[in-house]
Symmetry: C2
Subunit: 313 residues, 2 copies
């Protein structure tokens, strides 16, 4: 079995460079291979920057996940942050740390997943770093652009604003629990809501926005605290698919609890000061949009069975 | 002893946020605390982006290094990449992975070093990520800005160009060997050549540039290959201090070999198509500048005892 050590640092960099290709984007002047990448901002745009790490044994586990899925998800977590700001992707860097004994086959699969997802969203790999470590560790930094002063933020919700959510809740969490309990590997790959985020950013009356990475309970709390308001949710409205509900029952989980506390949904949670119906919003954002509650003067999140969020520590 | 686990993820984020403060830079619209940071590019500037990782047991070792020095060096490695592009710093993110059992005292010291160095170069912390890992791991991404189309690159050296170097060689390597052999801790902290890099970027006749992170031998090779030329060096000219030479003798190392193969110098190595003397260059770059060789048509690096570079793997 060939390992990373067989190729060495420079061999691997060359391999990554070949597979990544040269970015053909007008945003990227210089990609991989120099001391730094050069991006060319467009007039009238702000830059948006987010960093996320993906660590073996913490965020992923080879026993229930393919390398390709590990790579795709690592980038999706970052792209979702751009979506939550209403930004378009420009490029990303990856600081990759791995054991020299890692099978090249696994490395290639992770790289494939990363680059596939990058290509799907026109977000080229523009640089990175390779180092040795005892476990695989990817720190991804993603760059985006947004019309000047128009980024969606967590703060900005006002009492009376209606609270909405894209998509359905809990699919990632259920998929993970199914794989852990029943064996097999992860099947569900979330979609970063980049299109919906950009459309929302252009709308009148749009307020605060966050992506669901830690679970609805926790992320609603972040949104409310950043805005200095409270949120009241009607749990009956929370969007779940029938197959999610059935899957929960089969595995012995409470569907509502899992929908609220499960992480990695990567849906957008946002507030709106407008009379637009959820149906009209769904058309505008090109995604299912559900109204789930309202912002209130009293701090805190009410109406959820628990505010428990995914905790990394 | 208090550890990271006592504060938890959100407690630590709050601690970092308090200590980092709000960036007062006009480049930063939004710092820590949202899904992403917002930077505002200035008209007529390109963005420069570089990522470096700093891993416990690979890049640093608690037994010979203070937390403050670990933090400072982690950022310096990145700032040096900006210097090599002729860029000014704008801000940085840090994806920090650490064991929950890490002493809070150590964490605070690393953070102090990071933020001290950041403040010295007006490069505020604008975001990041915290996660659990078996060893301390920092992946830093640094953002800079450079006048449009004026970034210094590795490619661009032409036969006949004179090759120059800022500062002295080998101090970091000797300091590390001294600490490992003789006990005690690291004393030497390199200086990122940001001022020299920006001055060089403005000069007529400036060609390719790289910062010395892997050692002169390796980095000269990078520069020559990127430009498709060779380099001929006069080893007698390589700038070393008397105390470096004496230190090498005392510890039993060949001064020339250590100067060429030692890493973490963070000096700038660059080519120039101009008649400027090294003395005139020293004044312009506000740093000692030494002429060490010339670019040639024949590929390869000649005149050095070895082309061995620091290898991470």
């Amino acid at each position: 079995m060939r390992t990373l050590a067989d190729l060495g640092e420079f061999g691997l960099i060359e391999r990554i460079r070949e597979r990544a290709g040269s970015p053909s984007s007008r945003d990227v002047v210089l990609g991989i291979g120099d001391d730094a990448a050069i991006l060319r901002p467009r007039a009238g745009e702000d830059s948006v920057v987010s960093t996320d790490a993906c660590v073996e044994g913490v965020h992923f586990d080879w026993s229930i996940q393919s390398g390709r899925s590990i790579g795709r998800r690592a980038l999706i977590a970052n792209l979702s942050d751009l979506a939550a700001m209403g930004a378009r992707p420009v490029g990303f860097t990856c600081a990759l740390a791995a054991p020299p004994s890692l099978a090249l086959r696994r490395f290639d699969a992770v790289l494939k997943g990363l680059l596939e997802e990058a290509q799907a969203w026109s977000c080229p790999l523009v640089g990175g770093n390779l180092t040795r470590a005892s476990r695989l560790h990817m720190a991804i930094t993603v760059f985006g652009a947004v019309p000047r002063g128009r980024a969606l933020r967590r703060a900005g919700l006002a009492p009376g604003d209606r609270i909405f959510l894209t998509g359905h809740l809990g699919s990632s969490a259920l998929d993970r629990l199914r794989a852990i309990k029943g064996g097999g590997s992860l099947r569900h790959i979330p979609v970063p809501r980049l299109e919906a985020g950009r459309a929302l950013g252009r709308m009148k009356g749009r307020r605060a926005c966050i992506d669901l990475s830690d679970g609805l309970g926790g992320d609603l709390g972040h949104l409310a605290r950043a805005s200095g308001v409270g949120v009241e949710v009607d749990p009956a409205t929370l969007p779940r698919t029938r197959s999610f509900t059935e899957g929960c029952r089969r595995l012995g989980f409470d569907p509502l609890e899992l929908a609220v506390s499960g992480g990695e949904d990567y849906e957008l949670l946002f507030g709106l000061d407008s009379r637009l119906s959820a149906a009209a919003l769904s058309r505008r954002l090109n995604a299912l949009v559900t109204e789930i509650g309202v912002a209130t003067r009293n701090p805190g999140v009410r109406g959820l069975p628990t505010e428990s969020a995914w905790r990394h520590w």
